[in-house]
């Protein structure tokens, strides 16, 4: 915007595109932002949002209001090329009359809608359910750190009592989308454990981030071969935890259905059960592994990333109905989550994330426990301080090969029976293409393929040959 009136240079406070065009005290001409370090106010505000210390203080007003202001300011500039004339006009008739007069000449509302990019959001007030574990970090942190509001959404993140409840509340539409375990969208689509309803998993919340924790009294039984007769807990039957635990003990030669007992226990009760001696160990999500160490009840035997580096854990899931009937809202929501995930991926941001999600409204855990988990410098319960920065990591891309691996394991343990079209189900549920597209929109580089080979405990998995993989195991239920 060229500087028009001489009066602008004499003003002490300069305005920008985003300032109120109906303010008679300020000129509309100076470009740049209020702090002077950015090319435009938009850049300044974006920077401010990325830095935590600004996020709590300045609630950026809704996108719509901002766009309306921009359009109004452009119109005012056109009507009053000389800023002094604009200010005189405003002083004489007042801001509201000026707005009314302007609206007669020029339809401000319509112009704002056209200016707002990405199509109008069908629904701005959303409810997203989460379970208070560190796996849901991107979903949770997007609330205090402003990622949802950045994309124009007013999201309420609601803490939920358990996986079954989160599944029920998402199925009966009390939540628009939810934090789920990676196998859950697959199970719901296939109708295992609930009515078959098509679900989608456009983004993986976190990779790694779990651990096998044993009770302190088993300090000397640090080898899975010695675990015959032990009782283990996992959060849910359809969970990576269940499959990883079974895989791990099967590799050590134990049959997970006959040689050990596995039961589903809600994560917070895992630590209490460990203390009360009801279980000997658990493969569970953080923060409860670290919490067991913090409370002196257990020690960390092995991190899940040592079983399978980069395994998916929790997912962000939405029903297919939500995706197809409200595509713009879905895109905005997914973009917020992908943005948050990318932010969480960087090691330098982890400490501030731990501080943001520790309060009672979110995870309700001591901040030091979360810091240890997110930064990877932690106490292991046996007197050592370990350093593993990738203890938990965040990568949103839902590899379809993950889905195929999960399906092979579900078949291996008899959770689904009969022939399964692995590729078709994986493609239907893990929306790799959608996510790749949105990752590009927020400036990330998505992978070029949707499937890849990976190793679980040293054994290679080829997603093109799922049945061979299934047949290669000694211990299985098929």
């Amino acid at each position: 915007m060229p500087v028009r009136s001489a009066g602008a240079r004499m003003e002490r406070t300069a305005m920008s595109t985003f300032d109120n065009p109906f303010d008679s005290e300020r000129p509309l001409s100076r470009p740049g932002c209020v702090c002077g370090r950015h090319r435009s106010q938009a850049e300044h505000e974006y920077e401010a949002q990325l830095q935590l210390h600004c996020a709590g203080v300045e609630r950026i007003e809704s996108e719509e209001k901002r766009y309306e202001g921009v359009v109004a300011s452009a119109v005012m500039r056109a009507v009053f090329p000389k800023d002094r004339a604009r200010r005189a006009f405003l002083k004489s008739v007042g801001a509201s009359t000026a707005l009314a007069a302007l609206s007669q000449l020029f339809p401000l509302k319509t112009a704002s809608e056209v200016f707002a990019q990405g199509g109008a959001l069908e629904k701005k007030d959303l409810k997203v359910g989460f379970i208070p574990i560190t796996c849901a970090t991107p979903i949770i942190m997007a609330h205090p750190m402003g990622f949802y509001s950045k994309h124009g959404l007013n999201v309420e993140v609601i803490k939920t009592a358990g996986w079954a409840v989160i599944r029920d509340k998402t199925l009966n539409k009390e939540y628009d989308a939810a934090h789920m375990l990676s196998p859950m969208p697959l199970a719901i689509t296939l109708g295992a454990g609930s009515n078959p309803i098509p679900y989608t998993m456009p983004a993986v919340e976190n990779i790694n981030g779990q651990a096998i924790t044993l009770a302190v009294k088993h300090k000397d039984k640090n080898d899975p071969k010695l675990w015959k007769g032990f009782k283990f807990a996992v959060p849910f039957d359809y969970s990576m935890h269940n499959y990883l635990l079974r895989y791990y003990v099967a590799e050590a030669g134990l049959d997970p259905d006959t040689d050990i007992q596995i039961r589903a226990v809600p994560p917070p009760e895992m630590v209490a059960n460990l203390r009360a001696d009801n279980i000997d160990g658990f493969l569970g999500p953080d923060p409860f592994n670290q919490r067991a160490v913090y409370d002196g009840v257990g020690f960390i035997h092995i991190l899940s990333k040592e079983l399978w580096e980069g395994h998916p854990c929790c997912a962000f899931a939405a029903s297919k109905e939500f995706v197809t009937t409200m595509p713009n809202t879905y895109a905005a929501l997914l973009k917020s989550i992908i943005d948050a995930t990318a932010f969480a991926h960087k090691a330098e941001n982890r400490k501030q994330i731990a501080a943001a999600i520790a309060p009672a409204n979110y995870l309700n855990q001591p901040e030091t426990v979360l810091e240890q988990i997110l930064t990877g410098t932690y106490a292991d319960g046996l007197g050592n301080v370990k350093r593993d920065p990738n203890r938990i990591d965040f990568d949103p891309f839902p590899w379809q090969s993950f889905a195929i691996w999960i399906l092979t394991q579900m078949k291996r343990w008899g959770q689904i029976k009969g022939n399964v079209d692995y590729k078709a189900v994986a493609e239907q549920v893990y929306l790799a293409t959608d996510t790749g597209k949105l990752m590009k929109e927020v400036g990330l580089e998505p992978p070029s393929t949707r499937s890849k080979n990976f190793k679980v405990m040293g054994k290679e998995f080829d997603p093109a040959k799922p049945d061979d993989y299934l047949r290669s195991f000694a211990i299985k239920r098929v």
Binding site: P132, E156, V157, I158, K159, T160, A161, V165, D168, K169, N172, E174, P268, E269, V271, A272, R275, R291, V293, Y294, D295, G296, P359, A360, N361, Y362, N364, Q365, P366, T368, Q372, T377, Y378, A379, G383, N384, V385
Partner: protein
């Protein structure tokens, strides 16, 4: 000394000894030896200093005081003050309870006044009565598909039975002489019900209501723990998630006190309608 004073003294002594025993039991076992200081910083007080995992009376007292100072704070949808949580729970209880009153008393009257209906409905009542509220919850969630309505339904179905049975009993036990007088005076059914049977059965009905409110309050805490959202049961679950036993104990005390208040309200109401025989 008068009986009230003596009773109060004994209560105080019992309370005092309970607190003393509690304090001794949670005093902790002293610091763990040979712990690397960097490690000690990363673990909590229990692991590094042998502090007892169970909180002592001083901690709980402090926590209660903190909650009482700020009962109505609201820091987000998952973190609200104790007062707000209680308000939500009480609202749900009242809704479920009043619906139960509206259903139980008329049906109780029907059963009490008609031996036929009494025999006919008896098997259903006997089978449905002992079912635990938590067993109703999954069915309610599945059919009603809304978690708050499901919790209200569960309260309704569980507080129904004591009121129903007590009303039926009270109605059936009205003195035969009075009913005979009514028959002599050719009093109509409804007038008989409202002017003779209701006042006569009122103490029994209110006793049933008093039992029901206790059950309803019990049920809401359990229902909220399962379903989440807002409410004192949810508060207990949220603090359990954080393994904050102090807050859980605070919540338990508050639940007990509110239950007592509700019970006392109905006890007063019962006194109002009791009559000397």
């Amino acid at each position: 000394m008068a009986l009230t004073w003596r009773a109060a003294l004994v209560s105080l002594l019992l309370f005092g000894s309970f607190i003393a025993v509690w304090h001794l039991a949670t005093m902790g076992s002293g610091p763990a030896a040979n712990m690397d200081p960097e490690y000690a910083k990363l673990v909590g007080a229990t692991a590094s200093q042998g502090k007892s995992a169970m909180p002592g009376p001083a901690e709980v007292g402090l926590k209660i005081w903190q909650h009482l100072k700020e009962p109505f704070y609201d820091r987000g949808s998952n973190d609200k003050g104790l007062g707000i949580q209680l308000a939500y729970s009480i609202a749900r209880v009242m809704t479920g309870y009043l619906i139960a009153v509206a259903v139980a008393i008329p049906i109780g009257f029907l059963i009490g006044m008609s031996p036929l209906m009494s025999r006919a409905l008896d098997p259903f009542i006997q089978v449905l009565k002992p079912i635990s509220p938590l067993a109703w919850m999954p069915l309610a969630l599945y059919t009603i598909k809304d978690s708050s309505l499901s919790s209200i339904f569960v309260i309704f179905i569980c507080s129904l039975w004591p009121m129903l049975i007590n009303t039926a009993f009270g109605v059936a036990a009205v003195r035969k002489e009075w009913l005979n007088v009514a028959r002599t005076l050719e009093v109509g059914v409804f007038r008989r019900a409202f002017t003779i049977i209701l006042p006569a059965a009122a103490p029994t009905i209110l006793t049933g209501m008093r039992i029901s409110i206790g059950i309803a309050w019990l049920v809401i805490v359990a229902a909220e723990m399962l379903v989440g959202g807002t409410g004192i049961g949810y508060f207990v679950w949220n603090e359990w998630n954080n393994l904050s036993i102090t807050n859980v104990i605070t919540a338990i005390l508050v639940i007990g006190i509110v239950g007592m208040v509700l019970d006392q309200i109905l006890a007063r109401a019962t006194k109002l309608v009791t009559f000397p025989e």
